[in-house]
Subunit: 245 residues, 2 copies
């Protein structure tokens, strides 16, 4: 339809990169463009740590369980940030209230709007990217490594680099399963999900790497029937992003 | 730099639209393209309700405190959704665990990645957009109006339409205040924030509508020194997105 939409449609996570660092000026340009995403009441409650130190990248790769964190052209740590806003409040002798569920949603949404712009801006320049949720494996240790103050917490990371692999685009859920008109239609799932399973089984069987016999609902059922990262509530409380219960 | 980055740099929220509905097929194309955003472990934990019913749009405008919800060309309600995944789990005789802080972050991030793609896709087609956080003013009533089942919760909305106003792009924080190298730099705020305040004072004084004498830190200090939407934790618990404490 147009360049931007084509770019979106061609997204696939890239985990193998050429040994080519992304110049700092390019990362700055990408982040600055991305900052033009909307922000809830213009709070801009985010920070990005661009990790250029190789030893640090290797530690972060280990702590997040993703080897390509150490081999990518730029690793970005995407953080919820109310520290800057606490500073703003102090300038006006006010006390910041930013330890509620509302403020947590606001900062999470803000960081993510920014980050998806970063992803697309990077891809528009020919780079490949991969989000790193594994950052939430060790949020406290990672925070210490990059000296995050209180009120700042890493939510996820992003690797960016010159692609050294080709990946097929994964088929998404049919749009009819995601987009409802006026009223939520849950009845459809008895039909749409088995049909999507067939599409995904075919994809997993024939994709370029890591072929397997698997369905989407099957892998989701396995993955989501286990409690994960149960320490996160406490981490958010300790870092000052949520009030202690 | 390129079409996609130019598009990003020119984002400004649009609240006044021409009386021109967006065809359903166009909304479908936009959402389908947007679905190609990354998704944490490919859970795709989101749903979008496209509200086409005018009476419903008017009720939602009232409940979210945003008049342009009723006058836009398409209103989208952007929802966290684990209902579809609960269905998937049931298909395999498993029980879904999706009421933890981790799962809340996953779905919030997933919805937001999708939504920022929707925003950019819409803008790439010449439409204007505005995020509607006001949806969180009345999440339970809004959920009832569009028949959201348990495990689904509206996080924000988006108005899309043919712009009927021109808006200047708001100056963002300097990139140096947002992008840190290897270590978080909070010391800078004593300098960067007053400088940004001057930029914003000039912007607010000279922008096209709603001119005022205001700084960024001043408005943030006022806005963020008050508790907001304190019922959200309970709403998330009641709708099955968080375990009751």
């Amino acid at each position: 339809m147009n360049e931007t939409i084509n770019l979106m449609m061609n997204h696939a996570s890239v985990r193998k990169y050429k040994e080519e660092m992304i110049p700092k000026e390019t990362v700055e340009k990408i982040v600055y463009a991305a900052q033009h995403a909307a922000s809830s009441n213009f709070v801009q409650a985010y920070s990005i740590i661009h990790v250029t130190d190789q030893a640090l990248k290797e530690k972060l790769a280990e702590l997040s369980g993703n080897k390509h964190v150490s081999t990518c052209g730029a690793f970005l740590l995407c953080c919820a940030d109310f520290k800057r806003l606490a500073h703003a409040a102090t300038m006006h002798d006010k006390e910041l209230v930013a330890d509620t569920m509302e403020s947590l949603l606001v900062t999470t949404i803000d960081v993510t709007l920014l980050s998806q712009n970063i992803a697309l801006a990077a891809e528009s320049l020919g780079y490949g990217i991969c989000y790193i949720g594994g950052v939430r494996n060790n949020p406290q240790q990672i925070s210490q490594l990059v000296n995050l103050p209180d009120r700042v917490v890493p939510l996820f990371g992003m690797t960016i680099g010159v692609p050294d692999e080709e990946q097929l685009v994964k088929p998404r859920l049919p749009v009819s399963a995601v987009l409802h008109e006026n009223t939520y239609d849950g009845e459809q799932y008895t039909q749409t999900l088995p049909a999507y399973d067939e599409t995904m089984r075919e994809y997993y069987k024939t994709r370029l790497t890591n072929q397997k016999d698997m369905t989407w609902t099957g892998s989701m059922a396995d993955f989501l029937s286990v409690e994960r990262r149960m320490y996160l509530q406490e981490v958010l409380e300790e870092r000052g992003l949520l009030r202690k219960q």
